[in-house]
Every structure is written in C-alpha cells, then in structure tokens.
C-alpha cells in the first residue's frame, strides 16, 4: 500500500507527530549539547568557541575519572543485589494469594516515592546525632559509639546509600519478575511436577530460562540507572568525604550549574553518554546471544 508516492506520503504523515517530537525534544537538544561542548559558556556571558579543549581537559581531569570509577563500583555492587534480591522476592510473592498480593504491594510502595524524598528520609535515618538507625543499634546494644554513616568514610557511605536505594527500587524489579514468572505457561510447570522435578530444578531449568529476557531487561535498566546515579549522592553525601562519593553525574551537574561551566559539563555528559552506550550495546549483544 505504501509503494506509491501517495502511500509513502501518508505513511510519513502518520509518523510525523512522533518524528517531530523526537526531532524537537531529543535530536535538537542533543545537537545543541554537542555544539555547547565545543564552547566555553557560563550562561551569563556569551559562548566562546574553544574547539576540543573541553574534551582534552576532561581526559586529564583526575576527579572525573575518580567519579567514574566510583560510579562503576557503585553499579557493580548494587546491580547483583537488586537482581538477586528482586528475583528472590518475586519467587516468594509470585503466586496470587491475598497475603502475597499484599506483600507485593508493600514492597512496591517505595517505588512510587520520588528518589529525592526517599534520599532525604534515609539521610535523616542515618544521621549520627538524630537518626533512628544509630538509636536502634544503641538500644539493641550493638553499638557503643556512634557510626558516621554518611560523608565520613567512603565505603560506609556507599553501603548506606546502597541500602536506601535497594529499599526504594527493589520493588520495581520484583514486579517485572513477577509478571515474567506469572507468564510461564502452567502446563510447563505442571509437566515438570509430574516428572518429579525438585523446586530447585524447576527454578533453574524452567523459571529462570523462561524469564531470562526480563532478567536482562531489569539488568539493563538497573545498570543504566546506577551509572546515572545523582539524587541520592547529592542529597546524602554531596560527594564527601574528599570527593570520594561524587558520582559522574554529580560531577557533571557541579560543573554545569554551580560552577557555570556549561561547555565543560556538556563534554563530560557526552563522554559519559558514550560509556553508557557501550554498556548498553554490550548487554544487548549478550541478550541476543542468550536468546539465540
């Protein structure tokens, strides 16, 4: 039907709104960002073309690579916990009984809270002087001196933030896994039961392979989300101590807005986007291979 000119025009007309949206809100800003990255621009003075100076500076910027290294460490630590934890929870609550439905809802509730709000909540829970966590550990006799959860020791701070993020987002992965598990045809599971497969065998031979696409999807979402981590670190540690918990996006934000170096911030963003694109491509390749 679209072989003639009128048909092609009609097809183009149908996709035009979506195309326009993408051009206006994705392609144009992206092009602008590339242009900005070749300029020195403080927003309050006119932009000045500096060629590739921002990129050269970024590759020599020790703090940018420290931030990237920390972001990767955070991603490597949190992703398996979110995956295994989310999957384990999904296995526990996948069946549609009233109690399990209730459990699903309770675990999912934090997902609908904004990350900023949940980070503030955990910031105060972890407060050395006023936080309930130190108070609880003291009352239980597990602590004899206060623990500085945030901003003093980079590893402790990282783990404290990981705990807060797990509480916030684990329900999202769980829900996708529940949907995938519930999508497995009941005949397959019943046949395995008739054949005498143990729960472990059913999980490793049937459930996991049949939900692998969802596992890869959740991994992708989790990895990208973690590589773009900002709110929780901005609110809970502000990169402290000694900039050791400054994530890449936090560093981009800092340069772009408080320091008013928009060109340099844009260059850092593009480098980061390139790195995330590499990870995404890698995961897509792995996903296709496993599917084949």
């Amino acid at each position: 039907m679209y072989n003639n000119a009128r048909g092609r025009f009609l097809g183009l007309l149908y996709v035009a709104p979506a195309l326009l949206f993408v051009l206006l809100f994705t392609a144009y800003p992206f092009g602008q960002m590339i242009w900005v990255s070749f300029n020195s621009w403080s927003l309050i003075t006119p932009p000045k073309f500096v060629g590739t100076a921002n990129y050269t500076k970024a590759f020599a910027d020790k703090q940018f690579w420290t931030s990237l290294q920390f972001t990767l460490k955070y991603t490597v630590l949190i992703t398996p916990i979110l995956m295994i934890g989310g999957y384990a929870l999904a296995l526990l609550v996948a069946a549609n009984t009233p109690l399990r439905r209730f459990a699903r809802a309770v675990i999912f509730i934090p997902v609908v809270i904004g990350l900023g709000a949940s980070s503030l909540l955990w910031y105060w829970l972890f407060s050395t002087d006023y936080g309930l966590i130190n108070k609880l550990l003291f009352d239980l006799g597990l602590l004899h001196k206060p623990v500085f959860w945030l901003g003093v020791n980079a590893d402790i701070s990282n783990w404290a933030i990981i705990v807060s993020v797990i509480w916030k987002v684990i329900g999202f992965g769980m829900l996708l896994f529940v949907a995938a598990i519930q999508g497995i045809p009941s005949e397959v599971t019943e046949a395995a039961l008739v054949d005498g497969a143990s729960p472990w065998q059913r999980m490793t031979r049937i459930t996991l392979p049949l939900t692998l696409r969802t596992v890869l999807l959740v991994t992708l979402v989790s990895v990208i989300g973690s590589l773009l981590a900002f709110d929780q670190f901005y609110i809970m540690t502000a990169g402290q101590p000694q900039n050791l918990t400054a994530t890449s996006v936090f560093y981009v934000y800092l340069n772009s807005f408080p320091y008013l170096k928009l060109g340099y911030g844009a260059a850092l963003s593009l480098i980061l986007a390139g790195i995330i694109l590499l990870f995404t491509l890698l995961q897509l390749v792995l996903s296709r291979r496993s599917h084949a």
């Binding site: 927003l43 309050i44 407060s127 807005f257 408080p258 320091y259």
Partner: protein, 419 residues
Amino acid sequence: MRLPKLITVALAALLVAMPLGAVAEDLQMWERSGGNASMVDELVRAWNEANPDRKIVLTYIPHSEMVPKIAQAIASGEVPDLMGMDLIYGPQFEDAGQLEDVTDYFKDDPTLKTASPGHIQVATYKDRLYGVPLYADVSVLFWNKLLFKQAGLDPEVGPASLQDIHDMAAKITALGDGNYGYYLAGNCAGCNIFTFGPLIWASGGTIEPKDAADEPLTGDNLVKVLEWARMMHKEGLINPANQAENGETFHLQFGSGKVGIMGTGNFNLFLLKEQNAALFDGNVGITFLPGLEKGKVASFAGGDIVTIPKGSKHVKDAVDFMKFILSDNVQVESYAKLMNLTTRADMAKNKYFEADPRVQKMAEALDVARTPYTLKFFELINSPQGPWLQMLQRVYYSDDPIDQIIADGKAQMKAIAAE
C-alpha cells in the same frame, strides 16, 4: 455581534495564559530561600504598604539553585526587576555585565556612606555600584555561660585568642557527659568560611585569590592557625560527630547546650530563643572571633545584596526600593524591630538593640567583618568539592604535613583562578 467560536476560545486561552504580572504593573523580585525569609517578607510588606501602585511580588528560589536559576533567567532574557543574591556572587555577575549600574542614582545619597562595607565592596566593580545590602549575617563567637560556670571558668569573660579557646575548651570537655569545648563543622565548606575563615584573617592570613595573579593562602600565621585546629581535634576538644556535619544541623549545635564555645552567626541567637530558652535568657556570651594574638579579631560579613538585572522593566522603581530599605525608618522599624542586623552601621544604636546588648555586639561585628572578593567563590570556597573544604578536612582528620596541605590547597586554588 457574536464572535466566531474559534476566536472566543483563542482569546480565553490567551487570557488564561497571560501572567498576572503582565496585567498589573507589579515589580517582580527573586530572593533565595533561607533563614532570612521573614526579614525579606517584612521589607516587601513595608514597601507594598507604602507603595500600593507599584507593589513587589516576591518569589523565593531554593538556596542551592540560586546561581543556576539566575543564570538561566539571564540566558533566556526572562529576568525579574529585582534580584536578591548571596553577596559573594556579586562580583561574578557584575563582571559579566548582567547588572544595572546604579552609581548615579546613589551619588548624593548619604545612606550609602554607612552601609555595610562588606556588602558595598562586593556590590562594587571597577568603581561602579551594582547593588545595596538586603540583609546582613555576621559571624561571632558564642560561649555557653552555664558550662563555663560548671567548668570553674568566669562566665562573663569570653575567649580573646585561639589559646584562650583551647584552654577554656579543655576545661569544658573535661566535664564529660557529652560536653565538648569547641565546635568545627567537618563537612561543610560554607560553615567553615563563615566561622573558621575569620580565625585566619584575625591572625593575618588570607584565603582566596582575588584573581589569577593573586596568591592564595598566605600569611606567616596560617600554619599556626591550622596547627591549632588540628590540635583541637587531636586533644578531643571537638566532638568527633562533628565530622559528619554538612551544614544541615549546624544551627542546632549551640542550642544543644553541649557545646562550650562555637563560632556561629547572628541568626543563632534567635533560634536559641525557641530551642533552648535557659541558654537564651542571659546565659549566652557573645564576642568577636579572635586570632592568635589578643585584640586581633575578625568576622565574615554574609547575607544578601539586592541588585537589578539588565533587562528589568522597572529600573527606577527598583532603585527606589533600594533607597527605601536603606532609609532610617526601615532600618529601625523593620530590621531592628525584628532583631535583624541593620545594614547601616549608624543605625545599630536604636531603641530595639539597646534592650539587648548581645545584638548590639553582633551589629558591631560588621565593622570588623570581611567578605571574600572573587569571581569564583563557589568553586574555590563554597563547593563541597572545592579546595577549601578538602584542605580543612585534611587538617582536621589526617596526619598529612600542614605545609604539604597548604601547598596542595594553593595549587588547586591557583588552577581554578587561572581558568
């Protein structure tokens, strides 16, 4: 005659979309959110009462978003008529040519002569004036007379040198029961420039470079002040929990009643009234932040200046507001009545302040106060990622040689200033 339906709908939509400010000839003013909102609210209220035909509509911007928001407004051309901004950012915006030059409007105005020197210094660029003080915060030293009595110290005599602070803090810390002699925020760049910076200035040192050619972190006594700070930590005279203080609970620390001596601001006295009435009622001593030698003192003059961005549609009215807040009546009946510092030194002697000599003392701090003058204050000093906080954290919590720490701080500051 009936209008076609489409035109009616379009007109209705236009009316709904039209901002109210465009209908009325109100002045739009932006100010950062923070502890001085009640003061600015009062100034705007007083102005609106006196000028019903040219009212000000005040909008608060989250403190941490102030600079980016203003920069975005300038870039988009949608600027307010008046802009209250943290005074330390004044030079950056003046240098960029984004503020209205108000020098000629004030050339015969006597009120300017007694206005806070720190505010006027940062509101001036190449001998031209771009703003006036909106409100003032000064840093001073508080001491807890209740703890002084318990420790056997004279509650009416505060510390006059860094050695005094050390000796008094040692006696207070010896009381135990969670009491500590002194307070320094371990994770807050702004708190430290406000309360630790003056200890350096009072000892003859400097901190930030004015520009790329200027040498940062100078002064023979700088090493001694940093060594003193390290000693205070090593001897346990400062609560180790302060290491986590990023500014969120800074204002609550003195009111806890567990801190003997603390550098803080004038705002803290009135917070204390609500937080710890026993301390507020005659048990807080206030003096200037001292240096190594007795008699040498300093303070940080903070607060906001009010400026007019280029593109303001009501420059003349905006200038009138500037003159209004500097007038005698507003200085006394708005600033002093609310127990906020007057922004003119000659107005500090008034009926409201005379009732409380502590406020009088804080008002006098404006005379010894400084405000850093640099085009890159945030990057150099205020940023949690900046060299100032990094340097202090190494002083407070590491054993790195002080000389090396200063050398590293200098190198980082110079690199930022040179960009």
